[in-house]
Symmetry: C2
Subunit: 209 residues, 2 copies
DNA sequence: CCTTGTGAATCGTTTCACAGCC
DNA sequence: GGCTGTGAAACGATTCACAAGG
Protein backbone atom coordinates (compact mmCIF):
# COMPACT_ATOMS: atom_id res chain seq x y z
CA UNK A 1 0.00 0.00 0.00
CA UNK A 2 1.20 3.48 -0.91
CA UNK A 3 2.38 5.83 1.79
CA UNK A 4 -0.41 8.17 2.87
CA UNK A 5 0.30 11.90 3.05
CA UNK A 6 -0.10 13.58 6.42
CA UNK A 7 -2.39 16.15 4.85
CA UNK A 8 -4.75 13.35 3.83
CA UNK A 9 -4.87 11.96 7.38
CA UNK A 10 -5.46 15.44 8.81
CA UNK A 11 -8.39 15.94 6.43
CA UNK A 12 -9.87 12.53 7.29
CA UNK A 13 -9.87 13.60 10.93
CA UNK A 14 -11.73 16.77 9.98
CA UNK A 15 -14.23 14.89 7.80
CA UNK A 16 -14.95 12.68 10.77
CA UNK A 17 -15.82 15.74 12.85
CA UNK A 18 -18.24 17.03 10.23
CA UNK A 19 -19.77 13.62 9.65
CA UNK A 20 -20.51 13.30 13.36
CA UNK A 21 -22.25 16.66 13.26
CA UNK A 22 -24.32 15.67 10.23
CA UNK A 23 -25.16 12.37 11.89
CA UNK A 24 -26.31 14.19 15.02
CA UNK A 25 -28.43 16.43 12.81
CA UNK A 26 -30.18 13.32 11.49
CA UNK A 27 -28.81 13.34 7.96
CA UNK A 28 -28.36 9.89 6.41
CA UNK A 29 -26.26 10.46 3.29
CA UNK A 30 -23.84 13.09 2.10
CA UNK A 31 -22.13 13.95 -1.18
CA UNK A 32 -18.42 14.69 -1.43
CA UNK A 33 -19.22 18.27 -2.37
CA UNK A 34 -21.07 18.95 0.84
CA UNK A 35 -18.37 17.40 3.02
CA UNK A 36 -15.83 19.45 1.10
CA UNK A 37 -17.68 22.69 1.74
CA UNK A 38 -17.71 22.11 5.51
CA UNK A 39 -14.00 21.46 5.50
CA UNK A 40 -12.89 24.19 3.14
CA UNK A 41 -11.69 21.82 0.44
CA UNK A 42 -12.96 20.41 -2.87
CA UNK A 43 -15.13 17.44 -3.73
CA UNK A 44 -12.32 15.90 -5.79
CA UNK A 45 -10.02 16.14 -2.79
CA UNK A 46 -12.53 14.37 -0.56
CA UNK A 47 -12.98 11.55 -3.07
CA UNK A 48 -9.24 11.22 -3.66
CA UNK A 49 -8.55 11.08 0.08
CA UNK A 50 -11.05 8.29 0.52
CA UNK A 51 -9.93 6.44 -2.61
CA UNK A 52 -6.58 5.60 -0.97
CA UNK A 53 -8.46 3.32 1.40
CA UNK A 54 -11.29 1.87 -0.68
CA UNK A 55 -14.57 2.93 -2.18
CA UNK A 56 -17.20 3.86 0.31
CA UNK A 57 -19.80 5.71 -1.73
CA UNK A 58 -22.57 4.96 -4.20
CA UNK A 59 -22.50 6.72 -7.57
CA UNK A 60 -25.39 9.08 -7.95
CA UNK A 61 -26.17 8.95 -4.23
CA UNK A 62 -23.12 9.89 -2.20
CA UNK A 63 -21.98 8.30 1.04
CA UNK A 64 -23.97 6.75 3.86
CA UNK A 65 -22.98 8.92 6.81
CA UNK A 66 -23.15 5.99 9.18
CA UNK A 67 -20.94 3.79 7.00
CA UNK A 68 -18.43 6.49 6.15
CA UNK A 69 -18.07 7.46 9.80
CA UNK A 70 -17.31 3.85 10.64
CA UNK A 71 -14.87 3.50 7.76
CA UNK A 72 -12.90 6.62 8.72
CA UNK A 73 -12.85 5.59 12.37
CA UNK A 74 -11.39 2.28 11.24
CA UNK A 75 -8.78 3.94 9.02
CA UNK A 76 -7.67 6.28 11.80
CA UNK A 77 -7.48 3.45 14.33
CA UNK A 78 -10.25 4.81 16.51
CA UNK A 79 -12.20 1.59 16.93
CA UNK A 80 -10.44 0.90 20.20
CA UNK A 81 -9.08 3.26 22.85
CA UNK A 82 -5.49 4.37 23.43
CA UNK A 83 -3.61 4.71 26.69
CA UNK A 84 -2.00 8.10 27.14
CA UNK A 85 0.53 9.36 29.66
CA UNK A 86 1.08 13.06 30.31
CA UNK A 87 4.55 14.16 31.36
CA UNK A 88 4.55 17.50 33.15
CA UNK A 89 1.81 18.50 35.60
CA UNK A 90 2.23 22.26 35.31
CA UNK A 91 -0.51 24.55 34.03
CA UNK A 92 -0.76 22.96 30.60
CA UNK A 93 -0.27 19.38 31.74
CA UNK A 94 -2.89 19.77 34.45
CA UNK A 95 -5.33 21.39 32.02
CA UNK A 96 -4.88 18.48 29.60
CA UNK A 97 -5.26 15.92 32.39
CA UNK A 98 -8.67 17.34 33.25
CA UNK A 99 -9.79 17.80 29.69
CA UNK A 100 -12.97 15.81 29.34
CA UNK A 101 -12.92 15.70 25.55
CA UNK A 102 -10.13 13.14 25.80
CA UNK A 103 -11.85 9.97 26.99
CA UNK A 104 -14.89 10.79 24.83
CA UNK A 105 -12.75 10.21 21.79
CA UNK A 106 -10.94 7.10 22.96
CA UNK A 107 -7.83 8.59 24.52
CA UNK A 108 -7.56 7.58 28.16
CA UNK A 109 -5.09 9.26 30.45
CA UNK A 110 -3.54 6.44 32.50
CA UNK A 111 -0.60 8.31 34.02
CA UNK A 112 0.67 11.80 34.87
CA UNK A 113 4.25 12.56 35.84
CA UNK A 114 6.19 15.47 37.27
CA UNK A 115 9.56 16.03 38.91
CA UNK A 116 8.29 18.61 41.41
CA UNK A 117 7.53 16.91 44.77
CA UNK A 118 4.79 19.47 45.45
CA UNK A 119 2.87 18.22 42.44
CA UNK A 120 3.44 14.52 42.99
CA UNK A 121 0.38 12.96 44.63
CA UNK A 122 -2.14 15.52 43.37
CA UNK A 123 -5.16 13.91 41.74
CA UNK A 124 -6.60 14.81 38.36
CA UNK A 125 -9.68 12.98 37.21
CA UNK A 126 -8.88 9.76 39.04
CA UNK A 127 -5.16 9.68 38.24
CA UNK A 128 -2.48 10.71 40.73
CA UNK A 129 0.63 12.57 39.65
CA UNK A 130 3.61 10.20 39.96
CA UNK A 131 7.27 11.06 40.28
CA UNK A 132 8.94 11.18 36.88
CA UNK A 133 11.54 8.74 38.25
CA UNK A 134 9.11 5.92 37.68
CA UNK A 135 8.26 7.04 34.13
CA UNK A 136 9.80 4.13 32.21
CA UNK A 137 8.58 1.48 34.64
CA UNK A 138 5.05 2.90 34.73
CA UNK A 139 4.82 3.31 30.95
CA UNK A 140 5.62 -0.38 30.56
CA UNK A 141 3.45 -1.53 33.45
CA UNK A 142 0.44 0.48 32.23
CA UNK A 143 1.00 -0.39 28.58
CA UNK A 144 0.85 3.26 27.54
CA UNK A 145 1.00 3.90 23.80
CA UNK A 146 1.00 7.68 23.48
CA UNK A 147 2.93 10.28 25.49
CA UNK A 148 2.00 13.94 25.78
CA UNK A 149 4.94 16.15 26.69
CA UNK A 150 4.05 19.30 28.64
CA UNK A 151 7.33 20.25 30.30
CA UNK A 152 9.57 23.33 30.00
CA UNK A 153 11.50 23.44 26.70
CA UNK A 154 14.86 22.51 28.20
CA UNK A 155 13.42 19.27 29.57
CA UNK A 156 11.43 18.22 26.49
CA UNK A 157 14.16 16.36 24.58
CA UNK A 158 15.13 14.34 27.65
CA UNK A 159 11.55 13.28 28.26
CA UNK A 160 11.14 12.33 24.60
CA UNK A 161 14.24 10.15 24.78
CA UNK A 162 12.99 8.46 27.93
CA UNK A 163 9.47 7.66 26.72
CA UNK A 164 10.88 6.43 23.38
CA UNK A 165 13.27 4.15 25.26
CA UNK A 166 10.31 2.88 27.30
CA UNK A 167 8.64 1.68 24.11
CA UNK A 168 6.33 4.56 23.22
CA UNK A 169 5.92 5.12 19.47
CA UNK A 170 3.73 8.23 19.42
CA UNK A 171 4.47 11.59 21.04
CA UNK A 172 2.45 14.81 21.16
CA UNK A 173 4.78 17.63 22.17
CA UNK A 174 3.27 20.78 23.69
CA UNK A 175 6.59 22.36 24.56
CA UNK A 176 8.05 25.25 22.61
CA UNK A 177 11.23 23.27 21.97
CA UNK A 178 11.97 21.54 18.69
CA UNK A 179 12.76 17.95 19.60
CA UNK A 180 13.87 15.03 17.46
CA UNK A 181 12.97 11.37 17.79
CA UNK A 182 14.09 8.13 16.11
CA UNK A 183 12.25 7.18 12.91
CA UNK A 184 10.27 4.47 14.72
CA UNK A 185 8.52 7.19 16.75
CA UNK A 186 5.85 9.48 15.32
CA UNK A 187 6.08 13.00 16.70
CA UNK A 188 3.46 15.73 16.43
CA UNK A 189 4.29 19.16 17.75
CA UNK A 190 1.75 21.61 19.07
CA UNK A 191 4.30 24.39 19.23
CA UNK A 192 2.53 27.56 20.19
CA UNK A 193 5.65 29.68 19.61
CA UNK A 194 5.86 28.51 15.99
CA UNK A 195 2.14 29.05 15.35
CA UNK A 196 2.23 32.56 16.81
CA UNK A 197 5.25 33.39 14.68
CA UNK A 198 3.44 32.15 11.56
CA UNK A 199 0.60 34.53 12.49
CA UNK A 200 3.11 37.33 13.05
CA UNK A 201 4.55 36.68 9.59
CA UNK A 202 1.10 36.75 8.01
CA UNK A 203 0.21 40.03 9.72
CA UNK A 204 3.53 41.57 8.70
CA UNK A 205 3.28 40.30 5.12
CA UNK A 206 -0.27 41.64 4.90
CA UNK A 207 0.96 45.07 5.97
CA UNK A 208 3.87 44.95 3.51
CA UNK A 209 1.65 44.48 0.48
CA UNK B 1 7.16 39.14 -4.39
CA UNK B 2 6.24 35.47 -4.69
CA UNK B 3 3.90 33.88 -2.20
CA UNK B 4 5.80 32.14 0.58
CA UNK B 5 4.83 28.59 1.51
CA UNK B 6 3.65 27.98 5.04
CA UNK B 7 6.22 25.20 5.39
CA UNK B 8 8.96 27.74 4.71
CA UNK B 9 7.68 30.09 7.42
CA UNK B 10 7.39 27.22 9.89
CA UNK B 11 11.00 26.24 9.24
CA UNK B 12 12.20 29.84 9.61
CA UNK B 13 10.59 29.87 13.04
CA UNK B 14 12.46 26.66 13.92
CA UNK B 15 15.77 28.01 12.56
CA UNK B 16 15.31 31.02 14.80
CA UNK B 17 15.03 28.76 17.82
CA UNK B 18 18.24 26.91 16.96
CA UNK B 19 20.10 30.11 16.11
CA UNK B 20 19.21 31.53 19.52
CA UNK B 21 20.61 28.40 21.14
CA UNK B 22 23.81 28.62 19.11
CA UNK B 23 24.11 32.30 19.95
CA UNK B 24 23.69 31.55 23.64
CA UNK B 25 26.42 28.90 23.28
CA UNK B 26 28.75 31.61 22.00
CA UNK B 27 28.99 30.47 18.37
CA UNK B 28 29.48 33.32 15.86
CA UNK B 29 28.85 31.74 12.45
CA UNK B 30 26.99 28.72 11.15
CA UNK B 31 26.77 26.84 7.86
CA UNK B 32 23.47 25.83 6.29
CA UNK B 33 24.34 22.16 6.85
CA UNK B 34 24.62 22.55 10.60
CA UNK B 35 21.36 24.50 10.88
CA UNK B 36 19.76 21.83 8.75
CA UNK B 37 20.91 19.03 11.01
CA UNK B 38 19.42 20.68 14.11
CA UNK B 39 16.10 21.08 12.36
CA UNK B 40 15.92 17.70 10.63
CA UNK B 41 16.10 19.11 7.12
CA UNK B 42 18.74 19.59 4.42
CA UNK B 43 21.27 22.33 3.71
CA UNK B 44 19.69 23.03 0.32
CA UNK B 45 16.33 23.51 2.02
CA UNK B 46 17.78 26.01 4.47
CA UNK B 47 19.43 27.99 1.70
CA UNK B 48 16.32 27.92 -0.48
CA UNK B 49 14.12 29.06 2.42
CA UNK B 50 16.39 32.04 3.06
CA UNK B 51 16.81 32.83 -0.65
CA UNK B 52 13.15 33.89 -0.87
CA UNK B 53 14.01 36.88 1.30
CA UNK B 54 17.53 37.84 0.28
CA UNK B 55 21.08 36.63 0.68
CA UNK B 56 22.31 36.64 4.21
CA UNK B 57 25.44 34.45 4.07
CA UNK B 58 29.00 34.66 2.85
CA UNK B 59 30.22 32.04 0.40
CA UNK B 60 32.85 29.87 1.93
CA UNK B 61 32.02 31.07 5.44
CA UNK B 62 28.36 30.52 6.22
CA UNK B 63 26.06 32.88 8.09
CA UNK B 64 26.77 35.30 10.91
CA UNK B 65 24.50 34.00 13.66
CA UNK B 66 23.85 37.50 14.95
CA UNK B 67 22.91 38.83 11.51
CA UNK B 68 20.81 35.84 10.50
CA UNK B 69 18.89 35.92 13.76
CA UNK B 70 18.08 39.57 13.13
CA UNK B 71 17.11 38.92 9.54
CA UNK B 72 14.73 36.10 10.43
CA UNK B 73 13.20 38.12 13.25
CA UNK B 74 12.60 40.87 10.72
CA UNK B 75 11.07 38.48 8.19
CA UNK B 76 8.73 36.99 10.78
CA UNK B 77 7.68 40.40 12.08
CA UNK B 78 9.17 39.90 15.52
CA UNK B 79 10.98 43.22 15.80
CA UNK B 80 8.06 44.69 17.66
CA UNK B 81 5.55 43.13 20.01
CA UNK B 82 2.00 42.00 19.33
CA UNK B 83 -1.13 42.49 21.43
CA UNK B 84 -3.00 39.29 22.11
CA UNK B 85 -6.43 38.63 23.58
CA UNK B 86 -7.44 35.26 24.96
CA UNK B 87 -11.10 34.28 24.70
CA UNK B 88 -12.07 31.59 27.21
CA UNK B 89 -10.71 31.53 30.76
CA UNK B 90 -11.22 27.83 31.40
CA UNK B 91 -8.36 25.45 32.12
CA UNK B 92 -6.57 25.99 28.81
CA UNK B 93 -7.25 29.72 28.56
CA UNK B 94 -6.05 30.30 32.13
CA UNK B 95 -2.92 28.20 31.53
CA UNK B 96 -2.13 30.25 28.42
CA UNK B 97 -2.79 33.54 30.24
CA UNK B 98 -0.19 32.65 32.84
CA UNK B 99 2.34 31.27 30.38
CA UNK B 100 5.50 33.29 30.86
CA UNK B 101 7.08 32.29 27.56
CA UNK B 102 4.60 34.60 25.85
CA UNK B 103 5.85 38.10 26.68
CA UNK B 104 9.46 36.89 26.32
CA UNK B 105 8.86 36.45 22.65
CA UNK B 106 6.93 39.62 22.00
CA UNK B 107 3.35 38.42 22.46
CA UNK B 108 1.63 40.44 25.19
CA UNK B 109 -1.68 39.33 26.60
CA UNK B 110 -3.76 42.50 26.89
CA UNK B 111 -7.17 40.97 27.50
CA UNK B 112 -8.91 37.80 28.68
CA UNK B 113 -12.63 37.13 28.22
CA UNK B 114 -15.16 34.64 29.47
CA UNK B 115 -18.95 34.36 29.61
CA UNK B 116 -19.04 32.70 33.04
CA UNK B 117 -19.68 35.34 35.76
CA UNK B 118 -17.66 33.25 38.24
CA UNK B 119 -14.55 33.70 36.12
CA UNK B 120 -15.06 37.37 35.29
CA UNK B 121 -12.89 39.51 37.55
CA UNK B 122 -10.24 36.86 38.27
CA UNK B 123 -6.71 38.14 37.70
CA UNK B 124 -4.06 36.39 35.64
CA UNK B 125 -0.65 38.02 35.43
CA UNK B 126 -1.94 41.56 35.74
CA UNK B 127 -4.95 41.16 33.46
CA UNK B 128 -8.50 40.73 34.77
CA UNK B 129 -10.97 38.44 33.04
CA UNK B 130 -13.62 40.61 31.37
CA UNK B 131 -17.13 39.65 30.32
CA UNK B 132 -17.20 38.45 26.75
CA UNK B 133 -19.98 41.01 26.12
CA UNK B 134 -17.35 43.68 25.86
CA UNK B 135 -15.15 41.65 23.48
CA UNK B 136 -15.55 43.78 20.35
CA UNK B 137 -15.29 47.09 22.19
CA UNK B 138 -12.22 45.99 24.16
CA UNK B 139 -10.45 44.54 21.13
CA UNK B 140 -10.78 47.88 19.39
CA UNK B 141 -9.94 49.96 22.47
CA UNK B 142 -6.84 47.88 23.27
CA UNK B 143 -5.74 47.62 19.65
CA UNK B 144 -5.40 43.84 19.86
CA UNK B 145 -4.00 42.15 16.77
CA UNK B 146 -4.13 38.43 17.59
CA UNK B 147 -6.91 36.40 19.24
CA UNK B 148 -6.43 33.06 20.93
CA UNK B 149 -9.62 31.02 21.11
CA UNK B 150 -9.84 28.63 24.06
CA UNK B 151 -13.56 27.99 24.38
CA UNK B 152 -15.68 24.83 24.05
CA UNK B 153 -16.02 23.64 20.42
CA UNK B 154 -19.65 24.75 20.02
CA UNK B 155 -18.70 28.33 20.89
CA UNK B 156 -15.53 28.56 18.79
CA UNK B 157 -17.07 29.63 15.47
CA UNK B 158 -19.11 32.38 17.11
CA UNK B 159 -16.06 33.79 18.85
CA UNK B 160 -14.07 33.68 15.60
CA UNK B 161 -16.81 35.62 13.82
CA UNK B 162 -16.90 38.21 16.58
CA UNK B 163 -13.14 38.85 16.78
CA UNK B 164 -12.92 38.97 12.97
CA UNK B 165 -15.73 41.54 12.93
CA UNK B 166 -13.83 43.52 15.56
CA UNK B 167 -10.90 43.87 13.17
CA UNK B 168 -8.62 41.00 14.22
CA UNK B 169 -6.71 39.42 11.31
CA UNK B 170 -4.91 36.56 13.10
CA UNK B 171 -6.49 33.77 15.14
CA UNK B 172 -4.93 30.87 17.01
CA UNK B 173 -7.65 28.32 17.71
CA UNK B 174 -7.13 25.85 20.55
CA UNK B 175 -10.60 24.37 20.35
CA UNK B 176 -11.30 20.95 18.88
CA UNK B 177 -13.78 22.46 16.44
CA UNK B 178 -12.94 23.13 12.81
CA UNK B 179 -13.81 26.75 12.23
CA UNK B 180 -13.73 28.88 9.09
CA UNK B 181 -12.79 32.51 8.68
CA UNK B 182 -12.90 35.07 5.86
CA UNK B 183 -9.82 35.16 3.59
CA UNK B 184 -8.60 38.39 5.21
CA UNK B 185 -8.06 36.50 8.48
CA UNK B 186 -5.19 34.06 9.03
CA UNK B 187 -6.22 31.08 11.13
CA UNK B 188 -3.91 28.58 12.79
CA UNK B 189 -5.44 25.61 14.56
CA UNK B 190 -3.86 23.80 17.45
CA UNK B 191 -6.41 21.03 17.31
CA UNK B 192 -5.44 18.39 19.80
CA UNK B 193 -8.13 15.99 18.60
CA UNK B 194 -6.71 16.05 15.06
CA UNK B 195 -3.12 15.59 16.22
CA UNK B 196 -4.04 12.66 18.45
CA UNK B 197 -5.92 11.04 15.58
CA UNK B 198 -2.90 11.45 13.31
CA UNK B 199 -0.88 9.64 15.99
CA UNK B 200 -3.56 6.96 16.22
CA UNK B 201 -3.36 6.49 12.45
CA UNK B 202 0.43 6.21 12.56
CA UNK B 203 0.30 3.61 15.34
CA UNK B 204 -2.37 1.63 13.50
CA UNK B 205 -0.56 1.85 10.16
CA UNK B 206 2.67 0.72 11.84
CA UNK B 207 0.86 -2.32 13.21
CA UNK B 208 -0.73 -3.09 9.84
CA UNK B 209 2.58 -3.31 8.03
C1' DC C 1 -29.35 13.08 -14.19
C1' DC C 2 -26.44 12.83 -10.33
C1' DT C 3 -22.29 11.58 -8.00
C1' DT C 4 -18.40 8.44 -7.41
C1' DG C 5 -13.74 6.74 -8.46
C1' DT C 6 -9.58 7.56 -10.92
C1' DG C 7 -5.99 8.26 -14.65
C1' DA C 8 -3.92 12.38 -16.57
C1' DA C 9 -2.60 17.14 -16.24
C1' DT C 10 -1.30 20.79 -13.38
C1' DC C 11 0.71 23.03 -9.74
C1' DG C 12 3.82 23.59 -5.87
C1' DT C 13 7.73 22.01 -3.04
C1' DT C 14 11.99 19.77 -2.36
C1' DT C 15 16.29 18.07 -4.00
C1' DC C 16 20.12 18.25 -7.14
C1' DA C 17 24.08 20.12 -8.95
C1' DC C 18 27.03 23.61 -10.06
C1' DA C 19 28.62 28.45 -11.05
C1' DG C 20 30.19 32.19 -8.26
C1' DC C 21 32.50 34.09 -4.42
C1' DC C 22 35.07 34.27 -0.05
C1' DG D 1 38.73 24.34 -0.42
C1' DG D 2 34.43 25.43 1.43
C1' DC D 3 29.95 27.20 1.36
C1' DT D 4 26.32 30.12 -0.64
C1' DG D 5 22.71 31.14 -3.98
C1' DT D 6 19.91 29.46 -7.62
C1' DG D 7 18.19 27.58 -12.04
C1' DA D 8 16.79 22.92 -13.46
C1' DA D 9 15.17 18.26 -12.39
C1' DA D 10 12.58 15.27 -9.56
C1' DC D 11 9.06 14.43 -6.66
C1' DG D 12 4.62 14.79 -4.45
C1' DA D 13 0.02 16.75 -3.88
C1' DT D 14 -4.01 18.82 -5.87
C1' DT D 15 -7.16 19.63 -9.50
C1' DC D 16 -9.28 18.37 -13.76
C1' DA D 17 -12.25 15.84 -16.49
C1' DC D 18 -14.60 11.94 -17.68
C1' DA D 19 -16.00 6.99 -17.88
C1' DA D 20 -18.82 4.02 -15.06
C1' DG D 21 -22.72 3.07 -12.22
C1' DG D 22 -26.74 4.04 -9.32
Amino acid sequence: MKRIAESTVRRLSLYLRFLEEFEKAGKLTIASGELARSGGTTSAQVRKDLSFFGSFGKRGLGYSIRELTGAIRGILGLKHSWKVVIVGAGKIGAALAQYSGFPDRGFNVVGIFDNDPRRVGQWYDGVAVADVCSLEADVRRLGAEIAIIAVPPQAAQGVADRVAAAGIHAILDFSTAAITVPPSVTLRSMNMAVELEILSFALTEGARQ
